[in-house]
């Protein structure tokens, strides 16, 4: 779970993840449909990432997850909270240990929720201020309920 504790802000200029090319290339980011076309021949040694729409039941991806270095979840609107549940299921239920990246309309004030739901990378909307996003992660020192980072709720932490 240690990877989930650190939130990385994706720098779009330096980000290695790229659109698919003709041949399998490292750090290719595919749509789920594109993945299903190439999945039988994609070499295990070439890191691949998949963009998963927020309507997808992530439990249907179980067999493929170990092959992916990155799952990019989407916020088509920032107030559409479906991807929080997807991230939580990927981590806590399906044991996915690669990068879970928030994409789409990712705003400063979502950061605490993203981190606690299992995201460990965020591609902020271009107009967002990274300093404010980092500050947003620091207001609370603890929470009542357990989450992906700290699975025990407050009452279990106090008793321990």
């Amino acid at each position: 779970m240690s990877t989930a504790r650190i939130m990385r802000f994706v720098d779009p200029v330096r980000d290695p993840w790229q659109e698919p090319a003709d041949a399998p290339a490292a750090h290719t980011l595919l749509s789920l449909d594109q993945w299903s076309v190439v999945r039988s021949e994609w070499p295990a040694s070439v890191p691949v990432g998949v963009l998963v729409a927020n309507t997808v039941d992530v439990e249907t991806l179980t067999g493929d997850l170990p092959r992916w270095s990155l799952v990019a979840l989407q916020f088509p609107k920032w107030t559409d909270g479906r991807a929080y549940s997807q991230a939580r299921l990927l981590r806590a239920r399906l044991g996915y240990a690669g990068e879970i990246r928030a994409t789409g309309e990712v705003l400063v004030d979502m950061l605490p929720l993203l981190q606690r739901s299992g995201f460990n990378a965020a591609l902020l909307r271009p107009d967002q201020n990274r300093e404010a996003a980092q500050r947003a992660l620091r207001f609370f020192v603890g929470h009542y309920q357990g989450d992906v980072v700290q699975s025990r709720p407050l009452f279990a932490r106090i008793e321990a």
Partner: protein, 570 residues
């Protein structure tokens, strides 16, 4: 009452600091109106007709004298000197300028209060029976469970942006005073045949455009499992609830559309959490946690000793009629010997239902301190309740409450109506509620008549969002907008789910809408038909159900003036 721990206190302060940061970014132009909107809503800040409206959480309706005094101070210093208690046991201010919002949140945090999740598409403030812990018909005191739910639902990272708002109500009594059938989740605490505690769980109740009563999804859920079960419900809702149309986004629509499949999905998710998830069993509530939280709700020592050594009778010989009426209507049975619960009526001529001025808040705080262990409750019917009054203090309390305007002996009667703030304040409303409520108050100012009419629930909402619970009124009044004018649709025979009202059910519309000035006539006509047709012992709602809508509709139609004219010329 629950006493904040150091953790609670620093948590609420952190929330206030976070909100200040968001507000500053907004005022500096770095956070646009649309984006700030969802953030401020989750702290209780709406933008209303005249100024922002602040909704302050009163968790399961419990309020201390100290907190109420601070609310009075905020009313005086930042608002126009009054506040409005709501059907969800919260308090609203209507006139606080947005640039002072963060200062108000700091003042609230000083007395362990906040506006967290009083609005927005998240799990709202948990509501409960205002008589929790004192009602003679209570099987299990719901307050410790409410507090556990409050903590669990506060800033839950996965469920902050659900398809729509989500309301949970809890009761532990035989009589449903929390309208649980009308909530997204309704919980009734029960004991099974061997004395174990569990919840009957209802899901998918709600008002709005499509009134629906919740479906029972579990007859007996062991209490230890309640957080996991609710997590399962919310996850299914978050993933599959509709987001394409806000009028179809409440969980009631999902439950109605999916039926048994919804229940099965919740059961599967519940088992998956427990059997497969890392940390899935961590939210199984241990006995030690329940005991720890329950210790906050133990009887005050003074109350316990008084209950053991006193007589329970209330002397009424040679007392004024007004006092006896107050005893009858505003004073309620208590589970403890020598005690009563007393309602301070917020329904009186010249003030909107549920409103209290800063001075009245201070007086209520003082009454609670003197007569009720410094504790008050906000009731679902928008009154204040003193939970720990000694029978021997009743006469003195009555005298004091009367001077403060709190002793109108009308609890449960027609003028004890529920009403939202309506179009005078609310940006959502189609029509005003307050003048309609005032006109009805004025029409029924004769106490003898009110007593003759007896128990009746009159509920007024200024729009279909149903904050005034018109669907559940024996008489419901709904403000609608027709070509820019205010009209009022009237419903008959709704129920909140209490024994007196029968199982929870929405009322039936009795024909086209009425003009504002016709509403008091319509109410009077409906009441007159009841008085003409009632059989021995029947309340209004009983007669309405037995006689049926047509007779009542005909009586209401007979007093149409503006509407008849509008139809004749149409």
């Amino acid at each position: 009452m629950y006493q904040y721990t150091d953790f609670d206190r620093q948590f609420v302060r952190a929330r206030a600091a976070q909100f200040r940061d968001q507000l500053q970014r907004h005022l500096a132009g770095q956070l646009g109106e649309e984006e700030f909107r969802a953030l401020r809503l989750q702290n209780g800040w709406y933008v209303q007709r005249h100024a922002p409206m602040l909704r302050i959480a009163v968790p399961y309706g419990e309020l201390s004298s100290r907190q109420l005094r601070q609310l009075a101070l905020i009313a005086r210093r930042f608002d126009r000197g009054y506040g409005h208690f709501t059907t969800r046991q919260n308090l609203q201010f209507n006139w606080i300028p947005l640039h002072q919002a963060a200062d108000v949140m700091d003042l609230l945090a000083e007395v362990d209060m906040h506006g967290i999740q009083t609005s927005g598409n998240c799990v709202r403030n948990i509501t409960s029976d205002a008589w929790a812990g004192i009602a003679p018909d209570e099987a299990v005191d719901p307050r410790p469970y409410c507090e556990i739910l409050r903590q669990w639902s506060t800033l839950h990272p996965e469920f902050a942006f659900l398809p729509r708002k989500f309301k949970i109500a809890v009761t532990g009594a035989a009589e449903d005073r929390a309208a649980i059938g009308w909530h997204d989740i309704g919980l009734q605490l029960l004991k099974n045949s061997v004395g174990e505690v569990g919840f009957k769980v209802l899901v998918g109740g709600g008002m709005g455009r499509t009134p629906v009563i919740g479906t029972v999804v579990s007859e007996f859920l062991p209490w230890q499992q309640v957080l996991v079960f609710i997590e399962a419900i919310l996850r299914v809702y978050n993933r599959y609830g509709r987001r394409d149309n806000m009028y179809k986004a409440r969980i009631k629509i999902l439950v109605k559309a999916e039926g048994e499949r919804f229940v099965q999905a919740v059961q599967r998710e519940f088992l998956a959490i427990l059997e497969r998830d890392v940390g899935g069993r961590e939210h199984w509530v241990p006995q030690a946690e329940l005991d720890g939280v329950a210790s906050h709700f133990q009887l005050p020592a003074e109350v316990r000793s008084h209950a053991s050594q006193t007589r329970d009778d209330v002397a009424t010989a040679d007392t004024p009629l007004a006092y006896r009426r107050w005893l009858e209507r505003n004073v309620h049975a208590h589970r403890l010997n020598g005690h009563r619960a007393v309602t301070l009526s917020l329904k009186r001529a010249g003030q909107a239902p549920g409103d209290a001025t800063a001075d009245q808040m201070d007086v209520a705080a003082a009454l609670a301190e003197r007569f009720s262990q410094g504790e008050l409750r906000v009731t679902h019917d928008q009154n204040l309740l003193l939970p720990w009054v000694r029978t021997s203090d009743l006469r003195e309390l009555w005298e004091t409450a009367r001077h403060a305007g709190f002793a109108t002996p009308n609890i449960g009667l027609l003028t004890d109506m529920i009403a939202c703030p309506g179009g005078d304040f609310c940006g959502l409303a189609n029509a005003r509620s307050v003048p309609v409520a005032a006109a009805i108050q004025e029409r029924f100012d004769d106490l003898d008549l009110l007593y003759d009419i007896g128990d009746i629930d009159l509920h007024i909402s200024g729009c279909i969002n149903s904050c005034g619970h018109h669907h559940s009124g024996h008489i419901g009044i709904l403000g609608v907008d027709k070509d820019g004018a205010e009209w009022y649709q009237v419903t008959l025979g709704g129920s909140d789910g209490s024994t007196r009202s029968g199982g929870a059910v929405p009322g039936k519309v009795i024909g086209p809408s009425f003009a504002a000035e016709e509403v008091p006539d319509v109410v009077e006509a409906l009441v007159d038909i009841y008085r003409a047709h009632r059989q021995h012992g029947e309340h209004f709602v009983d007669t309405a159900r037995r006689v049926g809508v047509p007779a009542f509709r005909a009586a209401a139609d007979a007093v149409r003036r503006a509407t008849a004219h509008a139809e004749a010329t149409a």
